[in-house]
Subunit: 283 residues, 2 copies
């Protein structure tokens, strides 16, 4: 029997898709749901709930379950570090976590990956844990983007690359060359809701869609954690903001439930496009 | 008698302060309020209302009023260019405006400045039209920023510089090294309201303030138009977001009603700090 996949899980569709896939392929899964971010749909998988500061407990439970490969997936908000319940291992790691946390999300995540690797686990990305999650290259759904949309996608790819390089975020929206919104800690969904509230003069609408959402990983991102993720709700919110389509870095961002995303995009009249990873890196 | 100041005005406190100052200094003012953005407090000054596309009318009215110096001030949202009522001059300028508008706000504004200069006016900045509007250097109000706040101000100054270089916007919020929000088309007030809605774990609160709002001009900004502006409401919204203070580029951003801003900051426990223009340009 293969070693079950270790899954340290937050909220959302991604950890559910990974857990279901691990069961479907026969590998099996051991799910540690993080306290405060317990995804209900994961409750029936083998595993348990652990606190964010209980690093020692996480390691011993994964070892007891015989896990070798380990994946982090799902949404977890930064905790208030001073409120965390820590076990011995968590307490030993805290000073490093605190100092790296000040450098941004990515630095913080690197500390965790490194700690689990030192403990003998093989940390893999969501894309390795579940084939077919990564966006493919080229047109994925909808009509081919217009010349104007291709221009917006280029500008947005540039802005998202610069924004990622500064560890700000992984997404932005550009319409007719104008940067409508840049994602930081509020997340992509909130950013899209904000675009829908902008004056109609500077954005598109149903029937006259314009503007593009771009999602791409940070250039120096720890790709085994926190790859940018899109799903059906991303398509719906982009539609509500009047956008013409969504550009997703091919091989660099995840599409959850791709068939449903494609159906939604076709129905609402948006394109989904996997742009080449080098787009917008020319400055 | 000196030539009256020509004021092309949108909404907000800035054009009102400039108009009042021009009257107080004895220069006098001729105010052209822009249709759709008519500031009510400017209704009693000499002048009239003009449409955004009526460039010819603007020029002839300013000439008739004997204006030489011309200032643009106040908030105007991008119009839907296809809905604009254009006079001959406006129609002649439209193709250039449309092509530059796709490059961002700044490129769009440069076209307008250049057109008015070609027509013989001397376009000046709000800071030239009204001395004492620009932020001074050093501590302006409140207790000196802590080491942590100085660190946040540095990161925010870097992010705002990069964001400005891409013509995204002029402001951002950083707390404990983490970029909470970056301003684009929603404006600073909306960005601060969004910060107040973020989880308490990653931001400050009354009694335990942390995080800094930074406002600075874009590095290659047409400084005669659209200098970043702060006012009493900026201080109030920053306080509601739990921030420790506001960093304003000294000599590069405007403070409207500075005494009231300082009072508000002291009362709510925030610092106001004028940082040197070179801060954060080191990468």
């Amino acid at each position: 029997m293969p070693a079950p996949l270790g899954l340290i899980a937050g909220l959302g569709d991604l950890p559910v898709a990974i857990a279901e896939n691990a069961v479907a392929t026969g590998q099996g899964v051991h799910v540690l749901r993080l306290k405060g971010f317990e995804e209900p749909r994961l409750a029936d998988f083998p595993g348990s709930v652990v606190g964010l500061g209980e690093i020692g407990a996480v390691i011993s439970r994964l070892r007891a379950a015989g896990c070798e490969d380990l994946v982090f997936a799902g949404i977890v908000k930064r905790p208030n570090f001073s409120d965390l319940k820590l076990d011995l291992k968590g307490a030993a790691l805290l000073p490093k976590v605190l100092s790296e946390a000040r450098k941004g999300d990515d630095a913080l995540l690197r500390v965790l990956v490194s700690e689990f690797e030192k403990s003998g686990f093989n940390v893999i990305g969501s894309d390795q844990a579940h084939a077919n999650l990564l966006a493919p290259a080229g047109l994925i759904a909808g009509a081919p983007p217009s010349e104007m949309s291709l221009g917006d996608m280029l500008v947005a790819a540039r802005v998202a690359a610069a924004s990622g390089a500064l560890d700000i975020g992984q997404a932005c929206v550009v319409c007719d060359g104008l940067v409508l919104a840049v994602e930081a800690q509020e997340g992509t969904d909130e950013m899209l809701r904000r675009c829908a509230a902008l004056p109609e003069a500077i954005r598109g609408r149903e029937g006259a869609r314009r503007g593009v959402l771009v999602k791409r990983p940070k250039p120096e991102q720890e790709r085994r954690i926190d790859l940018p993720t899109t799903g059906v709700s991303t398509v719906e919110l982009a539609a509500a903001a009047g956008l013409a389509g969504i550009g997703i870095e091919a091989g660099g961002a995840l599409m959850l439930n791709r068939p449903a995303m494609m159906d939604t995009a076709e129905r609402l009249g948006l394109f989904l496009y996997g742009f080449k990873p080098e787009l917008g890196l020319d400055r």
